[in-house]
């Protein structure tokens, strides 16, 4: 998705200026900035428009391997019992509620950046995922869903015979 061509420093054969040179550092920072901008809008200031958890729902990553599709969502502070996952057709829905801490005795908030409340997120799954073979785990605030691929969607190796 890179719209701006940038050269991976490790690949380039050209001689690099000394890594501790201020210009080299500036360049590496700019490279990182562009890389992060295109790869993950979340990393930059855009996170302000999309807090980690908000009405838009938790942020989700989806990765594909030969065997399965992995969906991960960051749900810090959510009790696994309050998370509801459903698949209808090819749409995966993660729904839940992050409850406010139980103590409601007098408290003064100095800083509030985390958000609470209900959230919901629906994602279309690729056709290769088998909705019947799903495995969900919740560990350290990260929800991981592993969907196996349909057998016919897995890549097959074709052996080449030499004659």
């Amino acid at each position: 998705m890179n719209l701006i061509p940038w050269r991976n420093k490790r690949e380039g054969g050209e001689s690099e200026p000394a890594a501790d040179h201020p210009l080299a550092r500036l360049r590496s920072e700019m490279d990182q900035l562009f890389e992060r901008f295109w790869r993950e809008p979340s990393a930059l200031g855009m996170a302000d428009f999309w807090p980690r958890m908000s009405a838009l729902g938790p942020r989700v990553n989806m990765a594909e391997s030969d065997q399965d599709i992995t969906v991960t969502a960051e749900l810090p502070g959510v009790d696994p019992k309050d998370v509801d996952i459903s698949i209808s057709g090819d749409v995966l829905t993660i729904r839940g509620e992050k409850k406010q801490e139980k103590e409601d005795r007098k408290r003064d908030y100095h800083c509030v950046e985390r958000s609470y409340g209900r959230f919901q997120r629906s994602i279309r799954l690729p056709g290769s995922a088998d909705p019947d073979k799903v495995d969900a785990t919740f560990r350290n605030g990260v929800l991981t869903l592993t969907l196996q691929k349909r057998p016919d969607a897995r890549p097959r190796r074709i052996a080449v015979k030499s004659e």
Binding site: S42, R59, V60, N61, A63, S65, P76, G77
Partner: protein
């Protein structure tokens, strides 16, 4: 399922060493709450396990560092959707006087770190009883 995390005290002068790991570092979102006898810091650090937590208090600065192990081989993963980046968490807080630094406690549960900074005796609110004469 909460785990107690020990607060490491710096030994002498701690050199600021730049981390060499090629990872992103994120600033966790926090809530800071004051109760009559303590300050409570709640930080969202999804993906951090108890042994990946490093909390330091030195020269009035409380530093919270959470290490996140990569969830998958980033180099060889084909992402269909990538809305968040996986990386370490780092945030520092300037702590004013009146915190009993010996008694700072930290717990980790479901990706949320709770730091409890008790106020020292002298700074706690006291009720002064009025004697009727």
């Amino acid at each position: 399922m909460s785990t107690n995390v020990t607060v490491k005290k710096p030994e002498g002068e701690v050199a600021r060493v730049e981390r060499t790991r090629d990872r992103q570092t994120y600033m966790p979102n926090v809530d800071i709450i004051e109760t009559p006898d303590a300050f409570v810091v709640l930080a969202d650090v999804p993906g951090v396990s108890a042994d990946g937590v490093d909390i330091r208090f030195e020269q009035g600065v409380l530093t919270l560092h959470g290490r996140v192990e990569p969830r998958q081989d980033e180099q060889h993963t084909c992402y269909l959707l990538r809305e968040y980046g996986v990386g370490d968490y780092l945030r520092s807080f300037q702590i004013g006087e009146g915190i009993d630094s010996e008694k700072i406690e930290a717990t980790l549960k479901d990706g949320v770190m709770e730091l409890r900074l008790p106020k020292s005796e002298a700074f706690r609110p006291r009720k002064i009883a009025v004697k009727a004469s």
